[in-house]
Amino acid sequence: MIDIENIEKVYTVGVVTTRVLKGISFQVKAGEYVAIMGASGTGKSTLMHILGCLDKPTGGHYRLEGTDMVNLDDDALSHLRNHRIGFVFQQFHLLERATSIRNVTLPLIYSERYPEDAHQRAEKALAAVGLADHMTYKPNQLSGGQQQRVAIARALITDPTILLADEPTGNLDSRSGAEVMAIFQRLHRDGRTIILVSHDRAVAEHANRIIILKDGRIAEDRPLPNPRDAEAELRVLAEKEGQP
């Protein structure tokens, strides 16, 4: 489904050229849950932007369900992001003055036709992340974990091919982080394709496959037969809080 072939990214600032990605290749099959790991400066954010069609590589090919995005123009990339990709960011990126419902329906505004059942779809998506009671709340009335769950609902509203999460727990406390990871695992069980980018091994180990970047190249690409169980971690956290 995702076919990355020898992707390169070179930045040129003045006379200085920096090769951030030096030929990366891998495939992701439908329903996989992949974590891309690496220290800062290894190019994982750049790779994430290319995977999300926010940026184009300077070399190589990226086929998403057979379409090579390298040849697409800006409008076509926007269309691709709208339909095929759901983003979850470290900083949530919610519209401050908009309710949860409005935040979740935002991507639908940019589809060819605003669906008539947009509101119901948003309600369903919010209920799926456990926010059925927070439909009309604005971001400043929600906790960090709740805000990130609104962002997940927003990412899922267009039923995208892949869910891309960039350090989704980076701004959250451990309990909220575990809740978010539990949602991802549940989505994975339901068949959703997820690519998670993190520098944190403990977070990455919730996925079923880990790709480790080092200095712009893939250093390691291995399956994880026994990923961490976010639900179990949540139970442990709950027990700890329960103790005096």
Partner: protein, 402 residues
Amino acid sequence: MNTLRIAQEGARALSANKLRTFFMMAGTIVGIAALTVIMAVGKGTEKKVMKRVTSFGTHAIMITAGGGKGFSPPQAGITTLRLEDAEAISSQIQGIDVVASFAVKRAMPVKAGSSQVQTGVMAISPQWHEAWDWYTKEGDPITAEDIATMARVCLLGTTSAKDLFGDEDPIGQYIQIGNVRFKVKGILQTRGVSPMGDDFDTRIMIPLTTGLRRLYNQDYITNIRVKVKDTNQLVPISEEIRKLLHDRHHITPPEEDDFAIFSAAEVANTARGISGTLTILLSALAGLSLVVGGVVLMNILLISVGERTKEIGLRRAVGARRKDIFMQFLMESLAVTLIGMVLGSALGWAASVILARVTQFPGVISWEPFALALAFALVVGVFFGVQPARRAAGLHPVEALK
């Protein structure tokens, strides 16, 4: 497509920051208000001008004995304006339709039976009727024969007729002006009150020769009225008449004239008066406000684009195309100027109404200012909105999300 929803996104940003939105709008409000007042005053003034010109006579030139500027009553004691001057104008100047001479005396005592009034008496030549386009509605006008025989006949204005005879028919009856008896031979058409406040219908007309010889005992006249064939010739003909009278009265220009010439063109200018100045001032204000307001609008929008970089990045990430972002910001700009237009029009309309009540400026409300305001709002909104909208649309999603 979803343009309406994208416009809504722009509108939401505006309602979220009302003070800022107000500042963005202020220039448009003032500009459009000024524009509305200009149009109202302009239209009102033209209406006033037309009324005055029509009342004066669109083709008329009036020569009054005595110097001075403006349309003033003849000066007493000026004896230099003579019938021969009128004849010279009539015979020597081209493009003239009618020349009528007359001599006015204000506040003459007039009696009929037991009724007595004081009113203006005009001794007129037969051409007077045509020169003023003012005829009798009953009875007969002043004729050449009346002039030749120095007939003791008169015409009454409708107000005089009522004052002197009540409901009786005055025609054939006699009145006494000073010590002379006159037979009423006609009633003039009702003319109404002049824009300067004179009641035309109180006047009494007598033949010119009768007036000069039998009543006033003088050989000079007070006015000559000239009707030209072509209104475009009003100014040149006025100047020709001035030259002719200079020659005839032996006046060399730095010397003061002993007559005044006033045409419909001058009536129009006098009626326009300071409305012209006000219009120029308000136009400058409107232009300045719209331009300054537009620049302020543009700058605030540019700041707003800077502050909302992350929002723009997010919108791009979830699928907004460049043109969607462009439209959102352009719509924001247009919404500001269009709401500003509505408020400005309302303000301008209110100001026009107050101005018309409080000052002499006539305000006429019509649809044109609103149409013009709409056009200006659209132009300002688009012109000053394009740059911020382009900047917003040009942001790279990756950079914007950082």
